[in-house]
């Protein structure tokens, strides 16, 4: 049997787990591992400029491919820098394995140089974590980590490895487990048959149904089943922020996103629905608004792979614990065999009502904002232009703020895994490193990072990583010289007292900055030059292009739910409300 050191075992185990790419940053406690990495060619390492970006890049890779992402960091500050990335993945159920170096076992607890209790620090934001204490345990721990990360409700797993466990002079036999079985971890896959039957009956009998679908559909690759079910029943579909692309954005049955900045028709339809079928969604507070006023007429059917999500915020009348991928086809089968059929008259009437809402106040039936003119570029128009020029086929990552909501509203995602954003944690600085992960996975696909001048500065150092590893992403910077969403809230709730939300004259020249990193910079200040410049930008396939676009500083994101209201209580613009 082959004898390997702990460092070598780790890298070999990564290879045997099917891992091709690792994002990371070396340091003292991880040096044995980095040396083992150097002496092989199967696992490709990408050096980032900050550990947070390593985790976001692994995350973007995972979100766009469906595979488990991998990051490698050193102990202490390396590990703590990774924390925001791990928390981001945890909130959005993204499967990652984050490997951190640790001080030697003999030094743990001594306040050694670069020592942090990584298992302790990361505990509330991981699906699981391991501290490996023997080289003999590394391969099995890695296999378990990938298994846990990817199965059930996915999530990040931390593997903390003390330096002496990877000692090159201590060699042990290498065995990668053929199969992982854990008596304490057996995620539910199939839903309860009786509950599924009840759900089908309720769904078919609905007169004002809405399919409310979330990130679970995307994570579970269950889009096709969702489409088949929605088409079979001719029911309306709305997606959460995390669920965008799970149902085609250009399909007539699609109502747009729901929730805080959801469309009028989606939120109003939810409010009036008699049956809400929640699929891989979690009734987040950014969707429901006031729980007491949430959808007063609805019978709730809820599928989720995680039992804790079901009936956590909103009591499900028909709870089903299982994967979307298993439950939806089973339901479809039962619908096809069912003796009862949908009340087509009621459904036609429901559609008539929805179409009326769309025509009255929908953002896709007319422009609900003042159009751009001259030097006043509307951020919404930039997103529409992005959609036009990339023909709706780009992978779009975003940071967090107004630009994120505009992208979610105006880029109509037809395919899952093409909209990549930090929905749960709302992590500014996510967009650029996530875009790197997507570009690595899909080098022939346009990858656009929609960002703002606030968010981009939180991980702008990764422009250097893009050069080193040839990751030609496109950065669409909606520059309003302020923290737009903060300012919007300050306008609406704090009498426009802009406490620490404006940059005044301190912003860098993003064009020069991009050029300093060896990239192309473009400044857009006039609406007439937007189309041509953006075409030029996307024509440069092998270059990173930073488009710095001055947008209207006073623009707000609408619709917007009113605090303490029901789903349908919305501001439609600065003066008009429902």
């Amino acid at each position: 049997m082959e004898l390997l050191s702990g460092g070598e075992i780790l890298i070999r185990a990564l290879k045997d787990a099917g891992i091709k790419h690792v994002w990371g940053y070396p340091g003292g406690a991880a040096l044995h591992i980095y040396d083992a990495l150097y002496r092989q060619e199967d696992v490709h390492h990408l050096l980032v400029r900050h550990e947070q970006a390593a985790v976001h890049a692994a995350d973007g890779y995972s979100r766009s491919t469906g595979e488990v992402g991998t990051a490698l960091v050193t102990s202490g500050p390396g590990a703590t820098n990774a924390i925001t990335g791990i928390a981001t993945a945890y909130m959005d159920s993204i499967p990652l394995v984050v490997i951190s170096g640790q001080v030697p076992l003999t030094k743990i607890g001594q306040d050694a140089f670069q020592e942090t209790d990584m298992v302790g620090v990361s505990r509330p934001i991981v699906k699981h974590s391991f501290l490996v204490t023997r080289a003999e345990d590394i391969a099995e721990t890695i296999a378990k980590a990938y298994y846990i990360a990817a199965t059930g409700r996915p999530g990040p797993v931390v593997v903390d490895i003390p330096k002496d466990v990877t000692d090159p002079s201590y060699k042990v036999p290498y065995v990668y487990p053929a199969e992982i079985k854990m008596r304490s971890y057996q995620p539910t896959d199939k839903g309860h048959r009786g509950q599924i039957r009840r759900a089908v009956k309720t769904l078919i009998s609905a007169k004002r149904p809405v399919l409310y679908t979330g990130g679970g559909v995307v994570l579970d690759n269950a889009s096709e089943h969702l489409i088949a079910l929605a088409k079979k029943l001719n029911y309306p579909v709305t997606n959460t922020l995390m669920g965008l692309g799970g149902y085609p954005g250009t399909d007539p049955q699609y109502l747009g996103m729901l929730g805080m900045h959801g469309t009028y028709e989606a939120n109003t339809a939810m409010h009036h629905a008699d049956v809400i079928f929640a699929i891989g969604a979690r009734f987040d507070d950014r969707v429901t608004n006031d729980l007491e006023k949430f959808c007063p007429h609805a019978t709730i059917i809820h599928i989720d792979v995680d039992p804790t999500t079901v009936s956590k915020n909103i009591e499900a009348h028909i709870p089903i614990v299982g994967t979307c991928n298993s439950v939806l086809p089973e339901m479809l089968g039962l619908i096809e065999q069912s003796e009862i059929t949908p009340d087509t008259d009621a459904i036609a009437e429901w559609w008539q009502q929805i179409d009326q809402w769309r025509a009255d106040k929908g953002i896709y039936t007319a422009s609900r904002y003042e159009e751009s003119s001259g030097n006043c570029i509307k951020p919404q128009d930039v997103i529409k232009m992005l959609y036009k020029i990339t023909e709706g086929k780009a992978i779009v990552t975003s940071d967090v703020g107004q630009h994120q909501m505009f992208a979610a509203q105006y880029y109509l995602f037809d395919k899952p895994r093409t909209w990549i954003n930090s929905g749960g944690l709302g992590t500014m600085g996510f967009g650029l490193p996530a875009a790197m992960g997507c570009k690595l996975a899909f080098p022939d696909c346009d990858v656009a990072c929609v960002t703002g001048e606030g968010s981009i500065q939180m991980n702008i150092q990764e422009l250097s990583t893009c050069s080193q590893h040839n990751l030609p992403v496109k950065i669409i910077n909606l520059n309003n010289a302020a923290l737009g969403m903060v300012r919007q809230w300050q306008d609406m709730n704090y009498s426009s007292r802009y406490s620490e939300s404006v940059y005044e004259e301190s912003l860098p020249d993003f064009i020069k900055l991009a050029e300093a990193y060896g990239h192309v910079g473009m400044k857009i200040t006039h609406i007439d030059e937007l189309e041509e410049k953006m075409r030029e930008c996307f024509a440069m396939k092998d270059r990173v292009v930073f488009m710095d676009i001055d947008v209207d500083r006073s623009e707000h994101v609408y619709p917007m739910q009113m605090p303490g209201g029901s789903m349908r209580d919305l501001w439609l613009n600065k003066t008009e409300r429902t």
Partner: protein, 164 residues
């Protein structure tokens, strides 16, 4: 209402901190907590008590079950159960009438005096939490020096059991 939650989990380092951390993180309180390996040394049995309505208890059980190290979780208060807690109480006992009264009190509560000095009695008492509370009230006036309670252990009545 009071909940007694029993957990069978892997006897591994970090497992306990995940349970305790979960309670802190989700805003639940732990009133008592007791944990030890079972007859199978790879397993730990943990009993904790908390307060909560049915919805909260259901969430707690589901959240605990979601932890990778936990194998089985049950809310004992959903069915018939037995609870026991062990208490050691050191009481100031310098005067003979107090010593006599204390001895009779210990007898009434079916406890044992397990250590005696010229100035103290140490009493061991087992029972449900209410019984231990009652004993403390009964001897409070005599001068309690120290109280040590183990926290509640619980087991289901009848043929229901928690095992891998």
């Amino acid at each position: 209402m009071k909940r007694i939650i029993s957990i069978l989990m892997e006897n591994e380092s970090g497992a306990l901190s995940r349970v305790v951390g979960l309670f802190a993180q989700r805003g639940y309180n732990i009133d008592t907590l007791t944990v030890a390996p079972t007859d199978d040394e790879t397993l730990s049995r943990l009993t904790l008590t908390t307060q909560g309505d049915d919805h909260m208890a259901e969430q707690i059980v589901k959240q605990l079950h979601k932890l990778i190290d936990t194998i089985k979780v049950v809310d004992l208060t959903q069915g018939a159960y037995i609870e026991r807690e062990l208490m050691l109480v050191k009481i100031k006992a310098t005067e003979s009438d107090i010593r006599t009264e204390l001895k009779s009190c210990v007898e009434i509560f079916r406890g044992h005096i397990i250590d005696v000095t010229p100035v103290t009695y140490t009493v061991q008492l087992a029972g449900d939490s209410e019984k231990l509370d009652a004993f403390i009230e009964a001897v409070r006036e005599m001068g309690i020096m120290e109280v040590v309670r183990s926290g509640v252990s619980g087991i289901a009545r009848g043929d229901k059991f928690l095992r891998v």
